[in-house]
Symmetry: C3
Subunit: 474 residues, 3 copies
């Protein structure tokens, strides 16, 4: 696929002012080809193990992507017509895949101004050599073009992984996972990439879930530890963390309704744990326990070294009707306000300057950047400001993030980019977007004579290479 | 009145960067003359029925405008010198009108950087052909010039309505209103404009008001339903909504202290209602009842089709002294923080995807745009993001709004512009301001190569024409 | 020291767009040499009394500056290596001073994009004639160059005070302070500057502090009033305020955890006061009392005329370990969310339009600017919006502040710049930064045709000269 004559513009996302744009171009030029470090994604590792061709354009590009599903749903599309069933993505025959694809193309105007359009446009261009805008008119032709491309060997997962120049890819995995896919990849001499798991124990820490007693039991079985007591439960988690560390994991990931971190007395923790096993813990108790476990997680991290990432403050499954029919991750998760200063204080008072703890906090509530997160990360050694996440992982929001964080915490207390995506094919354009935007922000500082161009160039390089490697211990 | 040589600049409000400005100019050119859709204003319909000349510059342009009164008050002016009395605007003789007008002109520097100055400047230029800046020196001359103009036939309300090219104007009306003015306009063959009422029941839903029992009784009288019971009260509201629908209403409007929407059991609602009639309901109960009625209002909307607009989170009459002397709407209403994700969840869980409900939510708390409102409107079919309102209905705030909302919800989940104004003469410049700013924002996306100019032009048109027509069912 | 060939760029901090930059340059030119009004700083007045040479570069420029200490700490430096001991700054021998200085220089990249770098760079250039960027390589040479300069007479405190063109400097002082330094300066015919104290009673209003009963007793002793009763305590505070007024004070300053202002009955206040003297007041009671005293402070201000400044909503000493080892003011103070509309209402209902009260409210929580503070200051005569403070006293944050406040409150309800700094040598560059940024913001309004250049020039002048003089009654 030769480069497109009329594809995405080489100056896209740069500031419009010509002097600033010229600086941005030069800064970007120096980092655009650096390898991708992806310390937090949702790519299924089995894709790389199996290395099978992707089935069809809709199943690959649309069905798993809740960013795209949401706006189509809001505009009236049925999720069942977009390839979703009660247990997640459905296997699609060609008619169904074409129908879903057509809905996307016919409604492409909904995505104007969103990063979803940007990622699609650039992915179509860079991966498939397509420069045409999706529409009712072009839907079938685009489908055919992409479907044909997906049959080619260079569009298989491993070929793309290599072409994307990904030096590390971290997946997100359940504590019960035996990490067979990761083991298979590590053992396969024909695959030389680094793909590491991430320990994601959320549901095991939520004692109020109806399915929690069963989860606790299965955790014990997998860890070969009796989780009938609180001590056993802690040991089982430590055991599974060790297992993940042994299989290359560098971080654990946590997403709960708030950022609370308040330790309990051992006896209180044990009492609530026992009550929860009997299904008798109150909501207040299960919340306390979860906040206690955040402190315990930090304690474990000081021992086994896993980086701890927090993605708090989202009301999951806001729409109960869609939850009942289509399960999770179809677009109805809605952020809520976040408080960090008081919430993190108990944890930081204990471990905030511990040399072995790296705590990276992500937020969708932008008001905490300048008010709480940057001030804390500018003081505590263990704390880093996570880059914009989910809804705010977008050009202007990323610019706001740098504007809100840098003046208080600089660049070197931030995490480096994470793509956090299920959309494997969009990983390069997401990282590229970040590099363009950081080049643009740094160029603005240069044009305002706050940085020399040399300082800016060094910083641009560090943001892509040294900072994520340091923060995620890679 | 020929166009001014030295009036407002044709490029006003466009981005300064020349390439971006050139795109903005072209986009604006295509929408600047489209008719005005004003689905939410506070213009008294009687003005259009009576079509009398406006009395004097101060009574027309200053006295009803709490945006202007507030800053003059803050700077030391007495509201009584600005034409306000205990029951609202006072009838002014020429001396009093000149005095009020002079206070405005002498303190015109207070408004630098505010949209009030912008609206005045452009209204003076476009409506009166005046290019001079108000000041102590020019106060009397300006007064004379405007007073003279107001005697001319082309400055009467109907002539202006036509000249302003308003295709629909929605007023704001009390449920007790017999809508005589609207009926008169509809029946008048010499008036061809479309002026529709809006159902604004706030005070009937606030059971804690001292005057509420009387309001409930009058509601029953007007609806010819016994409001001695909760069921009768609901029937009376439904009745009045029908009356408004029959007289052209397309929406109901709601402004309460928070956005809470939590249904009560029928029995609890009835019990609280009965207690309130006896003056015995607690504050907690009246708040619960109001949140219940928000759900009921949505339920009614699914039945009668009225669009539901929310304008929450303002502490009305913050200053009790001014309230006592001058009543409401003189500038001491102050916004408070807003929470939407949890507050709207009960309503959205029931009706959030109902095809007959359009719920438009406005906020002055900008932090909810990217955190809560855009994510919800990007998923729920019934929910739209209202454009900036009240204090943030201003150039830079509108730019922030687009920046905060678009990347998550795009353009097509927003409401289109509303002017929400008592200042009839400023309606054209307010809509023009919005068109200029949207052209500027779209131009930025074009210059950053995120949209083609064709996509931007289509979007600019939709924002002015198709989107408000769809959202407000016009 | 001649101007540098390669120092800070003359166009620094101006907008990059050439037309806008040209306007900014012209506006700045008109205000850049106006005298500095510094109505809130933390410079020790004894420096000016003693007029001794500063000891060494680290003790002068690094050790007292918690802005710089925090990021070095976050990056791993020990505070003890940065010149801090258990009781604050340590006396440093040359080796220790050089070591601390070297840590700063080696880690100078941490400050890229922060105002700390900007202030250092411009101070080095303007005060010491140094254009080189600090680094491991240049650390010793810079130290030598600055140390040498500090021996020269023109680098003594009084010479700098004069050279900085400071017309008023307000220090921050304890109610127990006898203001000997201020008296000495006032009595000294060889010092012609105006240096006034500021009444900062925070700790005397926090009845829950372990040391409070002792503080109350000492307050009584100094005021020569029996503080064994609430009435005596109020009298003692009034007495000390008068003493400060007699010594030139123009304001009192207040920094508590929230902005609450709720009056108590005299009897309740007396009861809580008595309980606190016995060490028996509850936390809720001491909070109530402090909120009561905010109202009392406003009442006193209406009588003695002291401007009242609020700096609320910071969790002081977030890190208990650092507090235990190094005390206060070393960088672990972290902001929290702020609510003003309800919190200030009781105070404003009483005194919000009193001609003798000037209440200036500062915030680090930027979300309150457009939502609460600008709307209130745009109505209440006594209330002014304080400029950005602490973490957000930085170029882009200051631009955000103007953008968030101006459209609602204009320029004339804001406070004028305050530097709020312990870093004496950075005072000129901080004020200069503010003048550049305001010139840039005004230039944007001119380029967007919202202000004429003449209006902008007048406003730029007022922001530096007439506004702070009016707000702080100077």
């Amino acid at each position: 696929m030769p480069p497109l004559a009329s594809g995405p513009h080489p100056d896209r996302l740069f500031p419009a002012q010509p002097e600033t744009r010229a600086v941005a171009r030069r800064l970007y030029e120096q980092v655009k080809d650096l390898p991708i470090i992806s310390p937090h994604s949702h790519v299924p590792p089995a894709w790389l193990v199996d290395d099978q061709p992707f089935s069809d354009p809709a199943s690959l590009l649309l069905v798993p992507d809740h960013y795209a599903l949401r706006l189509l749903h809001a505009n009236g599309a049925e999720l069942s017509d977009l390839g979703r069933g009660p247990d997640g993505p459905l296997p699609l025959d060609e008619a169904a895949a074409r129908k879903a694809w057509r809905i996307l193309c016919e409604n492409y105007h909904l995505f104007r101004g969103t990063p979803v359009k940007y990622w699609f446009d650039t992915t179509f261009a860079d991966v498939f050599g397509i420069a045409e805008t999706p529409s009712a008119r072009t839907a079938d032709a685009l489908y055919d073009q992409i479907a044909e491309a997906l049959t080619r060997p260079e569009l298989r997962p491993r070929a793309l992984f290599e072409r994307f120049n990904i030096s590390v890819l971290a997946t997100t995995d359940d504590p019960l996972d035996d990490l067979a896919a990761h083991r298979a990849l590590a053992a396969d001499p024909t695959f030389t990439g680094r793909v590491v798991p991430t320990f994601r124990p959320d549901r095991f820490l939520e004692l109020g879930r109806p399915d929690w007693p069963g989860l606790a039991r299965r955790l014990g079985e997998v860890a070969d530890v009796d989780t009938g007591s609180y001590a056993g439960y802690v040991a089982a988690l430590e055991n599974r963390r060790r297992y993940f560390v042994e299989h290359g994991a560098v971080s654990s990931d946590h997403s709960h309704y708030d950022a609370g971190t308040e330790p309990l007395d051992e006896a209180d923790a044990a009492r609530i744990y026992a009550a929860a096993l009997r299904g008798e813990a109150t909501t207040a108790e299960t919340v306390s326990f979860r906040r206690h476990m955040m402190c315990e997680t930090a304690r474990m991290a000081t021992e086994d070294g896993l980086v701890m990432t927090l993605h708090p403050a989202v009301r999951r499954d806001h729409d109960p009707v869609t939850l009942a029919h289509y399960g999770h991750d179809v677009g109805s998760d809605i952020p809520v306000g976040l408080e960090l200063t008081e919430a993190l204080r108990p944890l930081l008072a204990r471990y905030g300057n511990h040399p072995n703890l790296h705590l990276v906090v992500f937020t969708i509530d932008e008001s905490v950047y300048s008010r709480e997160l940057a001030p804390m990360a500018g003081y505590y050694r263990s704390l880093y400001v996570g880059v914009p996440w989910w809804f705010i992982d977008a050009p202007e929001a990323i610019r706001r993030f740098r504007g809100a964080v840098t003046e208080t915490a600089g660049f070197y207390r931030t995490s480096g980019f994470i793509d956090d995506t299920r959309a494997f094919l969009s990983i390069p354009t997401r990282h590229d977007m970040s590099r363009r935007l950081d080049a643009g922000y740094l160029a603005e500082l240069v044009t305002q004579h706050r940085l020399t161009e040399e300082e800016a160039a060094q910083t641009a390089h560090d943001l892509v290479a040294t900072i994520p490697a340091k923060v995620f211990k890679l």
